[in-house]
Symmetry: C2
Subunit: 344 residues, 2 copies
């Protein structure tokens, strides 16, 4: 371990981040960490790229639900890593852990409450990326927000935006398993085909060639009961018009609004009053204690029974992480975006 390659945060972007200007790969040629009590040194194997990270690339002065990234420091992410040195009895050398690691090859990790050992990670056949995807935060996001906010009932119709993404594809499959009609919007014809042929959505459309408004009119003539909101903008406006009385909006994210200085104005919120809609936001960590164990058991069983397909878009190596991140922000990833750093 003579060197450690990292992706470092350079500057706050006002619109889309630019590789080289706002974040860049840097190598520390002389990486010889000395651990303090409680710390471990990790060899990072895979980490997750998620839309919420764009929110951490902000002016440090602006408050939000998670701390902003620090200029000059590596970005961080939920990842799977091997402990290769340890001054913490909870995580002996050789443990495979789920933790907030840097976007880098090696991380010195303090004793954080978010770190945990993944039991059976070496023995199971599930790819390690599952633990940051369908069995990790995006999976819990879909499962818990459906249970807590969406309250899906058999026979209802759900519309999911960014439906081939990490959260969307699981949300759709859970709702199919629970007896709902599932409609998804995505940004390419390939993704439409994937949702229809591989994932089992009832209907899907490409919002770049068909407006959400027209698509919902055609695909959901009886209206929708739940909208799983990942994008904001025109999809939200169309959903507000097409929701039935007492409809629910799971406000999970609004990715179309993250990289713009001119957010789209939603003009039809009056539907919230006339149709008695509920729109509720959440942060997945709010749900962790209440739901994680049930979610993990339920979805792992569905995975092992092949009831769920789950597509991963894996960038290879730290060098490709910045482009993969920016690509994800504009919808170029096809499936859950992760970075493969090293083999186990």
């Amino acid at each position: 371990m003579p060197s450690n390659k990292s992706v470092v945060y350079l500057k706050h972007p006002t619109e889309f981040p630019v590789v080289g200007e706002h974040l860049a790969v840097q190598t520390n040629p002389d990486f010889r960490p000395v651990l303090k009590d409680g710390e471990v040194l990790t060899r990072n194997l895979v980490f997750s790229l998620d839309p919420y990270m764009r929110g951490k690339m902000r002016d440090a002065g602006k408050q939000s639900y998670s701390a902003s990234y620090e200029i000059g420091k590596p970005l961080d992410a939920r990842g799977v890593a091997e402990v290769i040195e340890s001054k913490n009895a909870k995580y002996p050398v050789g443990s495979i852990i789920h933790a907030f690691v840097g976007w880098e090859e090696y991380t010195v990790l303090p004793d954080l409450p978010t770190t945990r050992i993944i039991p059976g990670a070496r023995e199971t056949n599930l790819p390690l990326s599952s633990y940051v995807g369908v069995l990790g935060m995006p999976g819990l996001t879909a499962w818990a927000s459906l249970k807590d906010i969406g309250k899906p009932k058999k026979g209802e119709t759900i519309f999911i935006s960014a439906a081939s993404g990490a959260v969307g594809q699981l949300a759709g499959q859970l709702c199919k398993a629970w007896g709902l009609t599932v409609i998804g919007s995505v940004g390419s014809d390939d993704k439409v085909e994937y949702l229809l042929k591989n994932v089992g959505f009832d209907a899907a459309f490409n919002y770049k060639t068909k407006s959400p408004k027209d698509a919902l009119k055609e695909l959901a003539p009886q209206g929708i009961d739940i909208y799983f909101e990942n994008t904001g903008g025109l999809a939200l406006e169309a959903a507000l018009d097409h929701l039935n009385n007492f409809g629910r909006i799971i406000a999970c994210g609004m990715i179309s609004q993250y990289n713009t200085r001119e957010p789209y104005g939603i003009k039809n919120l009056m539907n919230v009053v006339t149709k008695r809609l509920t729109m509720r936001g959440f942060i997945v960590s709010d749900f962790h204690d209440q739901y994680f164990a049930d979610f993990f058991k339920d979805v792992r069983e569905m995975l092992l029974n092949k009831q769920i397909v789950y597509r991963v878009d894996e960038a290879q190596g730290i060098d490709n992480a910045p482009e993969a991140f920016v690509g994800m922000l504009s919808g170029k990833n096809f499936g859950k975006a992760v970075v493969h750093v090293a083999d186990l």
Copy 2:
């Protein structure tokens, strides 16, 4: 009873209704109704003018939560009336009832589930307009939506738009009684003074001379926990920015959006996600069965104990009803808008 004067709905307005063009007073010079079984003839005493009525002045083809008004027929409203002829044993001659009557002197009323006798109406000292205001639908609107959606906790801060209106002034006083800090927005300096001196709000501002954004920054430096939404537009946008984590928006109405073809676009809904806000709409009739009895008991007691002041803006006579209605839509009323038709 040789004649009956009514306000008739003439035409669907796209923006503000115009008296004479969209609604007008007409007199039926030869009004000699013959009642069928189940019907009663009422002498109308007072009726309520409410923002929701604008929503019923729409194209009959457009769906909403209440039926649209019928062209060529009298408008209707919740009112208090005396039964002067009866073919319905439930409502003997002389009963004082609360019912959906026409905007007119006399109405032939079928047997509707919304009609009920007001017990003790002749004996009590409460003005009859109370039964369509603070003890009627607007009162229940404030009380039940606070209980069911706002879930106010002692020590929290609530912001109420259209705060001197029928719903707003009661909502504010209930919240004061429950230990909250109460801030209101209104459209004139007179109303600001009324809220501060007579109603007991902690703070109030005139949105025509101070933007809701600036006002909330100044008046609620710790943020707000509940927004009682009556107006939409800039007040909603400011509230979204100033709500604290887990804040609630009671989506009661958006009067600023009712009379325009160019609704205002809300650009900061991302706050719903990052601050885990809940925004929920409702229709007061959804709450009736669950809450009416408790509400009536609670608020009547507060009224009799002089814990509540409640201002009424009373137009005199059918002839003045159309102007009073249009005035209310632009905020010219000062207190709950009602029309006094006749003395008991």
